[in-house]
């Protein structure tokens, strides 16, 4: 099951948040966004540093009740999706969301300026359509 999704900009601003299933509501969403962004930066930095073989990239972590999938673009946009812990690898889906939906309907939208929150209806619509069609959505 897919719970929710965050998109962060390079400078740690949360550009987009959406929740599909979330029984336990956040106490403060702003606090949660800010902390998650900080946590992800720290994890990415740390996992790479302690890697015994060669630099490695953070992909996901899981707890007893959820799993966080992470994707970072080369230009510094970062995405996190929370799902139930049994969900497999989501790298392909995250790459699709970034490569097809985000670049086309956000970056190429003439009305979007870099750094703004994402409000484009087309993006929100296409994202919702894509996520709700994934086999492990429910």
């Amino acid at each position: 099951m897919i719970y929710n999704l965050f998109i962060f900009s390079k400078d740690n601003k949360c550009l987009y948040y959406y929740e599909w299933n979330r029984p336990l509501k956040a106490d403060s969403l702003d606090y949660e966004k800010e902390n998650l962004s900080g946590l992800l930066i720290a994890i990415c930095d740390f996992v790479s540093k302690i890697s015994p073989i060669k630099p490695s990239f953070f992909k996901s972590y899981s707890t007893s009740s959820y799993k966080l999938h992470y994707y970072e673009s080369l230009s510094g946009f970062r995405m996190a999706i929370l799902t139930d812990p049994t969900t497999g690898d989501l790298t392909d889906s995250l790459e699709y969301i970034y490569g097809e939906l985000f670049t086309n309907y956000v970056m190429k939208n003439p009305l979007y300026e870099i750094g703004q929150e994402i409000k484009s209806q087309k993006f929100i619509y296409e994202l919702d359509l894509y996520i709700s069609k994934l086999p492990f959505f429910k």
Binding site: Y105, K108, N109, P110, L111, K119, S120, Q121, K122, Y125
Partner: protein, 188 residues
């Protein structure tokens, strides 16, 4: 030769935004000199934006028509020119054929494109009501029009270079579809 689709759509977007802001906001030095280039009336601003974008398109359209027809055989009738516009020219510029072409056989053509490239990525902020409803309000239609003045100019320029002196107008009520009306000035 092909050009990256991204660069051309991003460039067009910036070009439109640049012209719009250059008309509606005076730059610093002109403010001081009290330059008469600065226009206060929104209707005039709209007209000047339209003229600037459409003229730029006109120039480019004329030149492109030369470039794109260099290996073709001669056009016999007006309809050949229109056919060229809707197939070859449209494909080269917008990546597809037009979806529908209507004519009254007296110098008027209506060209419809259901997925017009310059509008493909345009999207307004979601108003929080119905995600599946993409209807535009009056103000949004005005904004969409801005991105169509340049393509209108391109078509007018190409037709003019090939021998049809025409007025080209465009209407969009649901992105990314739009309808161009071409009226030949010789028809009357």
């Amino acid at each position: 030769m092909s050009v990256s689709e991204s660069i051309w759509s991003l460039l067009l977007n910036e070009f439109v935004n640049y012209v719009v802001s250059s008309v509606s906001e005076p730059s610093e030095p002109t403010k001081e000199e009290n330059n008469e280039d600065f226009i206060n009336d929104p209707e005039d601003q709209k007209k000047i934006t339209k003229a600037k974008l459409s003229n730029a398109g006109y120039q480019i359209g004329q030149k492109l028509a030369d470039r794109y027809t260099k290996d073709r055989s001669r056009f016999r009738e007006q309809v050949d020119i229109i056919r060229f516009l809707c197939k070859d020219f449209w494909t080269l510029l917008f990546g597809k054929n037009v979806d529908n072409l209507k004519t009254n056989h007296r110098g008027m053509w209506i060209i419809r494109d259901e997925n017009f490239r310059p509008l493909r990525n345009l999207s307004f902020p979601f108003d929080g009501k119905n995600l599946k409803k993409f209807d535009l309000n009056e103000n949004q239609i005005q904004i969409v029009q801005r991105f169509l003045y340049f393509p209108c100019g391109l078509i007018r320029g190409a037709l003019s270079a090939l021998g049809i002196d025409a007025d080209v107008d465009v209407h969009c009520s649901l992105i990314p579809a739009c309808e161009f009306t071409v009226i030949s000035k010789e028809s009357n």
